[in-house]
Symmetry: C2
Subunit: 235 residues, 2 copies
């Protein structure tokens, strides 16, 4: 059985969320059941790009992770697209034998038994600005299957006031799930440099919203990779 | 018994290290046993500023934390200066009764019994570029007294190759201590805006060092407050 892989790259550092700053190799799965208006990874989402995705065996993916990391175990970040539409269980089992740790980010629309084998599951439900609509029943099912994983956390991208209000409701629904907020990046053209001041101003806006409302439970973080590399791929 | 307090401010978010992005109120202690060449908080270090430091009772400090946070418990970050030259035990006890959590950052030169009552102890030994010299015996004593605290972590600021090599040795000495690295900020004039591109380039340099060396244990993080507010005080 093969995986559809858009890219494997690293080592770099995780740019966002619970593992921000952690050295990692990314495995980006090809294919997604969503099509968010502001998606920054269309090359792993749009089926127009599907001929660029490699069909790889789990052992081949693991060999590439091993090559990139020099055989030294680190955290592997499985992203996408939505990696939960494929079966990453065998890859995780292979890697764990060698001491690798696994994190996976998914929107929470598809639940997988292999979530339980993860060190970190990042559930990132998409706010209204995405144009997608969450099915909380499916999200709950993801949480159920994640029981036994190292940690499950929630991450929400915030573009505007509507997203912010939506995030507050989501947080109320899952008071026990550690929450990470990050400002949205509307500037997703990989050929165009990101305006650092604009990115920083969006972070400031979100920090001021959260602290001004005395909402003390979420952590507010930027996307480091956007600050450091703009929208360049493979870093 | 009173505390010497340089400033109390917030709520804002923690800008660096293990709690990066977490909403917090800062309590900055006045006075330090070090004088790092690149200190960014001289107003809490140099005795020339001591007349600006308030002598406050623990209950007065707690009242101010309560006022700033609207009585809603959050993480209180005790910084300095070196807060470990004073006794913050009574403040921590007062705050914990009301559900506040406490983090403290210190260089590890003075050990205090109240370290054990902290939720997070950040030990930040100063690298060679500081001009200070670490006494590892005292550092070890800090770790001993921290037993029983929520988590103890190490954070090292890196200005140059020498600091980097020193950090690798420190990490080898404490393989079980979670490690956070951050690029140094040489640009500490509060009246002068920070050049974002320079700050980001320093982060990129450190990320490339760490991942290039396949050193996968530390997390590499920027100082968010420097990116967002430059060296402005009270944020």
């Amino acid at each position: 059985m093969t995986l559809r892989i858009a890219e494997i790259f690293g080592p770099t550092v995780q740019g966002e969320g619970a593992l921000i700053g952690e050295p990692t190799v990314f495995v980006r799965a090809g294919g997604c059941d969503y099509r968010c208006s502001w998606c920054d990874s269309l090359h792993a989402v749009e089926s127009a790009y599907r001929h660029d995705w490699a069909a790889m065996g789990h052992d081949e993916v693991m060999a590439e992770i091993r090559r990139l990391s020099g055989g030294l175990p680190l955290t592997v970040s499985i992203s996408g697209g939505n990696p939960a539409i494929q079966d990453f269980g065998p890859l995780i089992a292979l890697g764990k034998e060698e001491g690798y740790r696994f994190a996976c980010e998914t929107q929470g629309s598809v639940a997988q038994p292999w979530f339980a084998a993860l060190d970190t599951l990042v559930l990132s439900p998409k706010p209204p600005s995405s144009g997608e609509q969450i099915d909380w029943g499916k999200f709950d099912r993801c949480l159920e299957l994640a029981r036994g994983c190292g940690q499950a956390v929630m991450k929400i991208v915030i573009f505007d006031e509507v997203d912010y209000g939506w995030a507050r409701d989501a947080a109320e629904r899952y008071p026990d799930l550690p929450l990470f907020l990050q400002p949205g990046n509307p500037d997703v053209d990989p050929t165009h440099p990101v305006d650092l001041q604009v990115a920083v101003d969006r972070l400031l806006w979100l920090i001021e919203k959260v602290t001004g409302d005395r909402w003390f439970t979420p952590r507010v973080l930027p996307q480091l990779h956007v600050l450091v590399w703009g929208n360049k791929r493979g870093v």
